[in-house]
């Protein structure tokens, strides 16, 4: 007769193997980028403009461009996303409209990033005549990160116990006062988590900014929101595929800066969420 514990051991071995097959390569990727990218990092690399056809110098304009884009995206997406989350958690009833909104959010989250790029090109660049500019790119990225912000904020709002609202309402506060002074303050860590995750996503995406803002090479910093800008992910794409004979070191260095930026934001978000869960009094 087959020994059930033997097949269990075999099965568990394969499950562990599957886990290692994900964890080990990811660890290797991060280690390789750090190891090969670190020698490139210097004050000059971070603060200088690219020189000699991007084969030397630094990546400062790309860092600044990404900072502008990410700021613009969050300024646009956070208010809309937060209010939408408040609607879903506090006002909506369980009806067809609510179902439709949730389905739209799922779909927004699933639209391929390059389709966002097309959309941004058609609506902002051409229809609104913003041209390829920081404004167009930020709005495109903003719509792309909207579902992340809505979903995480809604979870945060819904995790505030119902009794908090009842007490506030029974003291004569109006619905909006209750939301403003009771529900929102208790949900801030969760909303912050969502915002940071959105920032990280916007910083790393390339396809949506390809046709809406990204400049191949710009020696000066953008002066207004109607200017084009360089961006870190696009810069990495350009120096690894479009420009021949770029020093490996510069490629790895750029990848390291981008990876650090994105992973750092995600790590902060994970830590905030973890602390918040632990400290929760209810």
């Amino acid at each position: 007769m087959r020994n059930p514990y033997r097949s269990q051991n075999i099965a568990f071995f394969f499950l562990l193997l599957a886990t290692l097959l994900i964890v080990v390569p990811v660890g290797l990727i991060v280690v390789v980028i750090i190891q090969k990218g670190l020698p490139a990092i210097s004050w000059q690399f971070l603060t200088d403009i690219p020189r000699q056809g991007m084969r030397a110098g630094g990546i400062f304009p790309a860092i600044v461009g990404t900072a502008y884009l990410v700021t613009g995206a969050i300024v646009f997406a956070l208010p809309i996303g937060l209010l939408a989350a408040i609607y879903l958690s506090e006002y909506s009833k369980d009806n067809i409209l609510n179902r439709l909104i949730k389905l739209s959010i799922v779909n927004l989250a699933g639209v391929p990033s390059v389709v966002y790029g097309l959309f941004g090109l058609a609506l902002f660049v051409i229809f609104f005549k913003f041209g390829a500019s920081i404004l167009s790119g930020s709005l495109t990225l903003g719509i792309m990160i909207l579902p992340i912000i809505i979903t995480t904020s809604r979870e945060a709002l819904e995790s505030v116990p119902y009794s908090f609202r009842e007490v506030s309402l029974s003291l004569g506060a109006s619905k909006w006062q209750t939301i403003r002074h009771i529900v929102l303050p208790n949900a801030i860590p969760g909303i912050l988590t969502g915002t940071i995750l959105g920032l990280g996503r916007a910083a790393g995406e390339t396809a949506p900014i390809l046709f809406t803002v990204a400049a191949f090479y710009l020696p000066q910093l953008p002066g207004s929101v109607f200017d084009q800008a360089m961006a870190l992910p696009y810069h990495l794409y350009v120096i690894s595929t479009q420009v021949p004979n770029v020093d490996e070191k510069i490629r790895y260095g750029t990848a390291l800066v981008l990876l650090t930026l994105v992973l750092f934001m995600n790590l902060v978000a994970i830590i905030i969420r973890y602390k918040f869960r632990k400290r929760k009094k209810w």
């Binding site: 006002y91 996503r201 994105v262």
Partner: protein, 288 residues
Amino acid sequence: MRKLKELIVEKAILICGLASIFFVGLIFLFLLREGLAVFSFITPFKFLAGKSWYPISEPPQLGILPLILGSLLVTFGAAVISIPIGVGCAIYIAEIAPLRIKETLKAGIELLAAIPSVVLGFIGMVTLVPLVKSVFHLPTGLTALSGSIMLAFMAMPTIVSVAEDALYSVPKNYKEGAFALGATHWQTIWRVLLPAASSGIVAAVMLGIGRVIGETMAVMMITGNAAVIPRSILAPVRTLTATIAAEMGEAVVGSEHYFALFAIGIVLFIISFAINVTADLFLHKRQL
């Protein structure tokens, strides 16, 4: 006065609540607006089933069958790799890993999901592509296989986290019941937990595949970008997404080429819409 202010705030909340419907509609509308024009040059059938994609020849040939097959091939390869590994890892995290390791693994998977696709593409170019080239003795390592492997890493975080959620939400008394009947842990997982979580796992796989089909940068960097019907997984291919990303920069606004790229966008939008709606149905089936 205060009542007026609250009325305004509540209207703003309602409007923002509807914003996601509005944006989905807007995206579809603008894709249609720019993309449907291509069908005055070419029939939808010839567009979808045409075997050659030479957008800048005279007259342009706009058949996207090679691109569709390229996307399918890369996606199929990525699914074959990522589904068993992803589901296996989800089972390990949900059932076997000790609590401490479990939290670390979950955070690690989340970080994997966060790595920008252009970084994964770059790493694929410098490590995987030369490896594939030398292992299979190919003239170039920029192949569908390289793309599939790299994309598998993008699908896995989605598959792992959604499937893990599904396994976790199986009621605890199912498990206790199986244990009480003398089943081993593995028998319980295989005969009780997996069937009970099956619709959530199906949704996990679909969402993972949805992510792969829509992925752009990594694919563009490592699949070789040859817009021909792929003969094997070791041949260079070009996907729908990579075509848009690579060619839109050069396409003249208002040309057939430009309209055709938007029409590809429509195809991608419809595919992702179908996948997401179906996955959502599977996810809600669970909450009976």
